[in-house]
């Protein structure tokens, strides 16, 4: 059960039960949808850019515990970051989770490293990050 405990750490379960920033952002100026047609997971991501800074980030949608917790923590992680910083964080997160790069992640996001033991679940963790990047790309 070691791998399972790594995957479903309490912080992930907590964000799944009580997702943060889980609402539509009425004054958003960026929006994108993330959808995994294979499993049906679907999230809307809203960003409010003030100049070069992500002032607000929210999401709504449905998916498994991994995808929902990841979306919740992604919105927390990018809030207050510049667009460049958020892009770089995406690259880092994607590199570690999807490609298995040994880099360190910001400590809060380290909990997602356990997903590596379940390759089929990697897309759950990266879905909202791709949507966030898509929103930035406009």
């Amino acid at each position: 059960m070691g791998e399972l405990d790594e995957l479903y750490q309490s912080v992930i379960l907590d964000h799944n039960r009580a997702p943060r920033n889980f609402r539509k952002l009425e004054d958003a100026n960026r929006h994108a949808e993330g959808r995994n047609p294979l499993c049906g997971d679907q999230f809307d991501i809203w960003l409010k850019l003030e100049g070069d800074v992500i002032a607000e980030a929210t999401f709504l949608g449905q998916g498994c515990a991994i995808s929902k917790a990841s979306a919740s923590m992604m919105t927390q992680a990018v809030k207050g970051k510049t667009v460049e910083e958020a892009r770089s964080l995406f690259e880092k997160f994607h590199g570690v989770i999807a490609a298995g790069e040994p880099e360190k992640l910001p400590s809060k996001l380290e909990v997602f490293r356990g997903v590596r033991a379940f390759p089929i679940r990697v897309k759950c963790a990266t879905l909202s990050w791709h949507a966030m990047k898509k929103a930035l790309d406009g």
Binding site: L13, C39, G40, Q42, Q62, G63, C64, A65, I66
Partner: protein, 417 residues
């Protein structure tokens, strides 16, 4: 855990599940350190040794292309290829000339849509599909409708999981040309009253296309008795190899249908500007067929024809009834379409737990179930869920495995609480 009912003992005595299990080499393997509990039979069934050996034997001793070969190997391969067609015809109580080898259920349904549907549909004609169809018995009809100007209309299902036959009767009309329904749902297992559906459709002058992917492995299907016009199924769900399926079509309909794909093997005579075509079934088998897969399918049908199907059906019904009863005792668990008569396929959801998370936890216990929308998004919408957990039982599953699934679901609750 509650004691098992009498159903278990009765069915166990008539169906020797342990003897059957011994025929399937994969059932001895372990997953994540525990013995495999394979409950994903609706996706694909495991293969008995006889099938695996038949394919190996064919490649080691008999590999050749079929038809037109003058050499011994080609003649042997052709004889075996046609023997399997006869065997399949016997299995479904139809004539060999009505059996077409396809790549699977999806290919068979696309063949009917494009060849039959493409040649008869006019703008405004109607195709009726049910709300519980797999995407493979839905999207081909949508593509056809786009091409021909026909309209796809939906036969709704009831909360119980059964088809709403009253609504079906009202939908049938002078413009109804095709009724495409599944014999048994790949999600909730519901068995549709296909004989009655066929009779009603015929009364209205429509042809009936049946998706038999989930019924062929679980019911003794007699296509003459059902009297449908087309029936498609897959070899790999019937304990045979992937890449091979069967399409039955009534002879008179097949004879009037244009080819689906062009190529070698389906022609009568070819000139540069035009060709004439072989009669069915060859007309619909362009190119080198999946010969080894046909050989493997033949071994699978030989294998299942030796079964006591009455005992098998009773056994699987006992398993699914027991699973239904035990699942009903798990707190916060809801079975979809619980009221339906079903083959041994069940879908359920757990309050507050996404099916994929449940599937991952069960996997760590060696239990293989499917989690997702099962290529049936309209049905998911009907029940208001994004996805379900599906457990599907085959000839080798045991009451003990039902108990392991239930215990696994309590573990799911514990991990994800």
């Amino acid at each position: 855990m509650a004691p098992l009912t009498a159903v278990r003992r009765d069915t166990e005595s008539a169906w020797d599940v342990h003897r059957v299990r011994a025929d399937f080499p994969i059932l001895t393997r372990e997953v994540r350190g525990t013995p495999l509990v394979y409950l994903d039979n609706a996706a694909t069934a495991q293969k008995p040794r006889a099938v695996i050996e038949a394919i190996t034997h064919y490649y080691e001793t008999g590999n050749a292309n079929v038809h037109r070969g003058v050499h011994a190997l080609s003649q042997e391969a052709t004889t075996e290829y046609e023997r399997v067609r006869e065997l399949a015809a016997r299995f479904f109580n139809v004539s060999p000339g009505e059996i077409i080898f396809t790549a699977g259920t999806t290919a068979g349904l696309n063949l009917v849509a494009q060849s039959y549907g493409g040649s008869v549909l006019r703008p405004g004609d109607e195709i009726l599909v049910s709300e519980m169809e797999h995407h493979s018995n839905l999207v081909p009809w949508q593509l056809l409708a786009e091409r021909t100007g026909a309209v796809v209309r939906m036969i709704p299902i009831m909360d119980s999981g059964g088809l709403d036959l009253g609504a079906f009767e009202r939908l049938l009309g002078p413009r109804t040309r095709i009724v495409a329904v599944t014999h048994a749902s790949n999600v909730i297992g519901a068995i549709n009253p296909i004989n009655a559906i066929a009779a009603m459709a015929h009364e209205a002058g429509a042809v009936v296309v049946v998706d038999g992917a989930q019924s062929a492995p679980h019911l003794r299907v007699d296509l003459r008795a059902i009297d449908c016009d087309f029936f498609a199924c897959s070899g790999h769900k019937l304990y045979g190899p992937t890449g091979i399926g069967l399409l039955y079509g009534k002879r008179a309909l097949l004879e009037a249908m244009p080819p689906w794909q062009g190529g070698g093997g389906m022609i009568s005579e070819v000139q540069i500007e035009r060709s004439t075509y072989a009669p069915p079934p060859e007309r619909f088998e362009a190119g080198t067929p999946p010969i080894a897969e046909v050989v493997g399918l033949g071994a699978a049908i030989d294998y299942v024809l030796a079964w006591d199907w009455e005992a098998l059906v009773a056994y699987e019904q006992g398993l699914v009834a027991e699973a239904t009863r035990q699942l009903g005792e798990v707190p916060g668990l809801r079975i979809l379409g619980e009221g339906a008569d079903r083959v041994s396929v069940l879908s359920f959801v757990l309050d507050g737990i996404h099916p994929h998370d449940a599937g991952t936890v069960l996997d760590t216990l060696g239990i293989a179930v499917r989690a997702g929308h099962h290529c049936a998004q309209p049905l998911m919408r009907r029940f208001g869920v994004p996805a379900t957990i599906r457990a599907s039982f085959g000839a080798y599953n045991t009451p003990r495995e039902v108990e392991q699934l239930i215990a696994g679901l309590y573990q799911v609750r514990k991990v994800l609480a």
